[in-house]
C-alpha cells in the first residue's frame, strides 16, 4: 500500500513539473502555476497500470479567453507525457485573486515589463475617483506613475504610464 501511495506521489510530482511548462498564452512569461490558476491535482487509477490526472483550474476573469487555450495545452502536455485519460475541471470557488500569483511569477512579470500586483491591492471597491495606489514603473523603478486607463490589453490588466521615463506599461488590475 505504501508503495502505491509513494508511486502516486511521484506521478503527482511529475504532473506539477509538467504544468510548470504550460504558459499563459497572453502573458507568456508566466506558467499556469505562477499565475495561481491550478487549484488541485488529483490522480485516479485508470485501468490496470495507468493513471488518470484530474486537474482543477480556475479562471482569472469569467470571460478570460485564454482559459480554453490553457485547458487544451495542459491536455497536450499530459498526452505527450503518456497519460491517455485526462480530466480538466473548471472551478469557480474560491474566486481567483492576484494574491495567488507566485513570488517568482511576480519577478518574471516585472522583468517582462508588466508591473506585478502589489501585495494586498488597496482599491478594489466600487467608489469612484479613488486615490490610486502608487505603482512602480517596471522599466525605471520610478514611483512617479499615473493610470491611463482602468482597462488594458487583457481582462486582467490596466494601463499606466511612467511620468519619468515616459514609458507606458501594464499593471495587474486589483482583483
Amino acid at each position: 500500500m505504501t508503495i502505491l501511495t509513494d508511486h502516486i506521489k511521484e506521478v503527482k510530482h511529475k504532473i506539477w513539473s509538467l504544468l510548470e511548462t504550460v504558459n499563459d498564452p497572453e502573458v507568456p512569461v508566466l506558467s499556469v502555476i505562477d499565475l495561481g490558476i491550478i487549484r488541485d491535482v488529483q490522480i485516479e487509477q485508470s485501468g490496470a497500470t495507468g493513471y488518470k490526472p484530474i486537474i482543477s483550474i480556475t479562471p482569472t476573469y469569467s470571460g478570460c479567453p485564454a482559459m480554453d487555450v490553457i485547458s487544451m495545452q495542459i491536455r497536450m502536455v499530459l498526452l505527450e507525457a503518456g497519460f491517455t485519460t485526462i480530466e480538466i475541471k473548471q472551478v469557480l470557488s474560491p474566486a481567483w485573486t492576484t494574491e495567488w500569483m507566485s513570488a517568482e511569477g511576480k519577478d518574471k512579470l516585472k522583468a517582462y515589463g508588466i508591473a506585478p500586483p502589489q501585495y494586498k491591492q488597496a482599491v478594489c471597491t466600487p467608489d469612484a475617483f479613488q486615490a490610486e495606489e502608487a505603482i512602480q514603473c517596471p522599466q525605471c523603478n520610478s514611483w512617479n506613475t499615473t493610470m491611463v486607463s482602468q482597462f488594458g490589453s487583457t481582462a486582467c490588466k490596466a494601463l499606466y504610464k511612467c511620468e519619468d521615463c515616459k514609458e507606458p506599461f501594464d499593471y495587474f488590475k486589483c482583483h
Binding site: P59, Y61, S93, A95, C124, P126, A128, S149, F151
Partner: protein, 250 residues
C-alpha cells in the same frame, strides 16, 4: 427538475449575455481608444458571466442542452433578460449611464447571491462580483464626469436619464420564479436591495449634479419573456450563424 431554478439562472444568464452583446457593439467605435478597450473588456466580463450561468442552466435542464443551445437556439419569448439591457446603446452618455444603473444593481444582487444556498449560483456570484465592482467604479466615474462636465455633456446625460429611467423599475419587481427562490434563500430578494441601489444612485447622481426623476411608469416584462422590439434584432444578429449552419464550431 427545478423549473424555477432553471428560469432564475436563465434570467441571470440572459441579462448578462444581452448586456455583453450591446457593449460589444462599441468595439471599434469607442470615443477614444482606451474607452473602446474598456467597454469591450466589460463586454467580455459579461459574456464570461453569461457562459457560467448558461453552463449551469444546461446542467440543470439536461435534455442535451448546452450553453450554446441556450444562447443561440432560444427565441425572443424564451429570453428573460431585463429590458434595460436590450435598448439601443444611444450615445456614450446613455451607454455609461445604463452600465452604471445595471452594474450597481448587479453589485448588490451578487453581494447577496454569493451566500445563496445553491453552491453553484453562489460561486458564480462571488466570481462575478469582483468584476462588477470594477464596472461600478468605471461607470460611476463616467456618469459624474459627464453630468458635472460641460453644458453639452450635462444635457446628454439628462436626456439619457429621460430615455432609460423607466426601465430601471423592472429590476425590483420580482418574477414568480424569483419569489419562489426567495423562500429557500436560493435567490435574492430584489425588494430588499432596492434601497441600497437607490442610495448608490442618489450618491453618484448628486456628484453628477443631476437628480433622480420623480416616480414614473415602470416598463416591464423582460423577466417573463415580453420584450421590446429591439431584442429580435439582437438575436437575429447573434444567432444567425448557428441557425444557418447548425452545429458550426470555431
Amino acid at each position: 427538475m427545478n423549473t424555477s431554478l432553471i428560469n432564475y439562472t436563465l434570467h441571470l444568464a440572459d441579462t448578462a449575455l444581452v448586456m455583453g452583446h450591446r457593449n460589444s457593439e462599441w468595439c471599434g467605435h469607442g470615443p477614444v481608444l482606451e474607452q473602446d478597450i474598456a467597454i469591450s473588456n466589460i463586454a467580455l466580463d459579461f459574456i464570461g458571466q453569461a457562459r457560467n450561468f448558461y453552463q449551469y442552466a444546461a446542467s440543470l435542464s439536461g435534455n442535451g442542452a448546452t450553453e450554446d443551445t441556450l444562447a443561440y437556439l432560444r427565441d425572443v419569448q424564451d429570453f428573460k433578460n431585463l429590458l434595460i439591457t436590450e435598448i439601443p446603446n444611444g450615445d456614450w452618455a446613455q451607454t455609461t449611464l445604463r452600465q452604471f444603473l445595471v452594474s450597481s444593481y448587479q453589485y448588490y444582487l451578487y453581494q447577496q447571491l454569493q451566500y445563496s444556498t445553491d453552491e453553484q449560483l453562489a460561486a458564480i456570484a462571488a466570481k462575478s462580483l469582483k468584476e462588477v465592482t470594477y464596472h461600478v467604479r468605471w461607470s460611476s466615474e463616467w456618469v459624474i464626469r459627464l453630468g458635472d462636465g460641460t453644458e453639452e455633456s450635462h444635457q446628454r446625460l439628462l436626456k439619457a436619464v429621460d430615455e432609460i429611467w423607466n426601465f430601471t423599475g423592472e429590476m425590483f419587481v420580482p418574477a414568480a420564479y424569483e419569489q419562489e427562490l426567495n423562500t429557500n434563500k436560493t435567490g435574492v430578494d430584489v425588494l430588499a436591495i432596492q434601497p441600497l441601489w437607490l442610495h448608490k444612485v442618489q450618491e453618484v447622481f448628486a456628484e453628477a449634479t443631476i437628480s433622480i426623476p420623480a416616480k414614473s411608469f415602470i416598463q416591464q416584462g423582460g423577466k417573463t419573456g415580453i420584450h421590446t422590439e429591439y431584442l429580435g434584432y439582437i438575436l437575429a444578429e447573434m444567432q444567425f450563424l448557428q441557425r444557418a449552419y447548425p452545429g458550426a464550431e470555431w
